[in-house]
Point group: C2
Chain length 349, copies 2
DNA sequence: CTGTTAGCGCGTTCAA
DNA sequence: TTGAACGCGCTAACAG
């Protein structure tokens, strides 16, 4: 048995360092927090003591003493699909966690699909907020609103949907082209050598994430699975009924349809159409976001794979990034990278 | 725009509640922490004030006042494979995070594959530890050692590898049969209708997790993909060179080999044998754990899919569970469930 | 049964 | 350039 580095049972305090260095609390504090007004010689003495005792600041006590607290706004879509409802719940849970770190979250529900409304909401945001997380829209007005917030000194992170050309601090969400490529690889491999058509259903091609997914999907499918060709993209507007009709028509029209990739919402419509057609087990269907619905379709065998982003991770990551930024702490990007999850019936959480 | 529930900018303190209820700090403290010795009527008054002000305790300040700190031991395998090295690093990072919560982690490296050594290490653990996380072995001696720790009042969580019959508090790791089923589904679908043999390579069948994975794999493959039959399990002892030899022999012997499922380590050996045989792109290879090596094989196309458990999540989850248990806080099991990740070349993090 | 008081580790005046 | 002293929100010992 090899013992690891045993840490001291209880951490050294500022006072321990002060005693070891033969100076006062305040002096150690100045050195530790890199403030002016200490002789170089004293600095050296204190730093030596810090190193010797392995002193590490107690951030909780520091925040307590500073009386520091944070207030963030989360701007989320109003009355939307299952994924967004989940996201909302996860933000709520994150808020409870954050409260124990002296951080407070207000949730604002707005129609994020209307650039004017979204930009207006951002413009109207009070300056009590030190940070904002927003499900963005890649539109000039929204970009300007984000830049304006940034100019006012409010940190902005985009959540799930990015506005890359804006001056947001950080994007919390998946790499959408990569998600599309992942879907394509699964589609191509599940269909193996079979020949035929693959349909792509998006909510709207004016949504950046849908376009990016579709782009990644096409890229891999055309280059690596030439036996499969994609049909023109169908826009279901994330509406189940409309998507059902379009899918039903498609199934009727094309006997050579082998697969469906849905890069938006409206999954209940696809399931209904597939099951009504009797080709549910034959046509490979891959979609995004694990919800109560897609989980059911997966278990039932109608749906073959789900590409997922974890709304809980996303909510917590957004909060952590804002908190770290406001406390002047560094953020480690690879720690905050949102994974592209793949769920089959067998690895459902 | 619909506004969400706006929280007060700054939280109510114990003192605010005391003032509102017309009692002293100590009384509020007693009520809030459910201690004895307060008249029912007073309790009610205080609780009303708590509710009215939306009071929530500042856990950081509480811990500070309590002078409470925690000390945990993490017992990990000595000098082992890439996955275990990653796990070790992640435990180290978790230790740094925990230090800011007044928690301290000592890492002990022992030969966890020898039940006597592992049990001895657990038996010898000092009582300064309030909790232990251990990569366990499902063996009577180890189980007894865990039960003994539990009897001494030390909380034990098993990490990555469980000892289900013991009295451990919690298991932090993936559902291994489900992981095996996931691998089988991928194998079956990637091979589609092709007929042939699939090899299963385990480290050792006396390792519970390897057996469970292999069980899940067989279960799905035999029931859902009758075109594929599995060969007798090969035990590579998680050793690359031995695994390479066995794999090379297998490839030479069987022209009808279509897939390899490796439910243990030794991946470098499999890659070498596959690439030397010239059948790397033809034989579907699925394995466990994303490491620097498996990542490379995936990108190169030799490896087709990786079933992964995130060592960072596992390390943090173990720490959170121990911390919560020692602070008397509840743990939410679904929050702590470790996901079965699937990685293809396209969704590598 | 209830209130008073002295810290926990740190940041921040204000004095020296 | 340095130090002493107070307070952040809470707990715990002691007093009433």
């Amino acid at each position: 048995m090899r013992g690891g580095a045993t840490q001291p049972a209880v951490r050294a305090t500022l006072e321990d360092v002060a005693r070891a260095a033969g100076v006062s609390l305040a002096t150690v504090d100045r050195v530790v927090n890199r403030r002016e007004g200490v002789r170089a010689k004293t600095v050296a003495r204190v730093e030596a003591a810090v190193a010797k005792l392995g002193y590490r600041a107690d951030v909780a006590a520091a925040r307590l003493a500073r009386g520091q607290s944070f207030r963030f706004a989360f701007v989320l879509p109003a009355g939307s699909n299952s994924f967004m409802t989940n996201l909302s719940e996860q933000v709520q849970r994150t808020a409870e966690w954050l409260a124990s770190q002296r951080g407070f979250i207000d949730i604002l529900h707005v129609d994020v699909f209307d650039p004017d409304v979204l930009a207006g909401a951002l413009d109207g945001l009070s300056s009590v907020y030190q940070g904002v997380a927003v499900v963005a829209l890649d539109h000039p007005k929204v970009r300007d609103a984000i830049d304006e917030l940034t100019a006012r000194g409010i940190a902005v992170v985009t959540l799930v949907s990015d506005a890359p050309s804006s001056r947001r601090l950080h994007y919390v969400g998946i790499d959408n082209p990569a998600a599309g490529r992942t879907a394509a690889t699964l589609m191509g491999r599940f269909l193996a050598a079979r020949e035929g058509k693959v349909a792509v259903i998006a909510g709207s091609l004016s949504l950046r994430d849908h376009t990016e997914r579709q782009f990644g999907f096409h890229q891999i499918l055309s280059s690596e699975h030439p036996n499969l060709t994609t049909l023109p993209v169908i826009e279901g507007r994330d509406d189940s009924e409309r998507t059902r009709e379009l899918t039903a028509a498609l199934l009727k029209r094309r006997n050579d349809l082998r697969g469906i990739y849905c890069c938006g919402a409206g999954n209940r419509g696809i399931a209904a159409a597939l099951e009504a057609s009797g080709r549910a087990r034959d046509v490979i269907w891959i979609t995004h976001e694990l919800t109560q619905h897609t989980r059911r379709f997966l278990v039932r065998g109608t749906l073959d794979a789900v590409i997922n982003q974890d709304p809980g991770h996303e909510a917590r990551s957004a909060a952590r990034v804002l908190l770290a930024h406001c406390s002047g702490e560094p953020i480690s990007p690879d720690q905050e990278r949102i994974r592209i999850d793949i769920f089959l019936r067998d690895n459902l959480p």
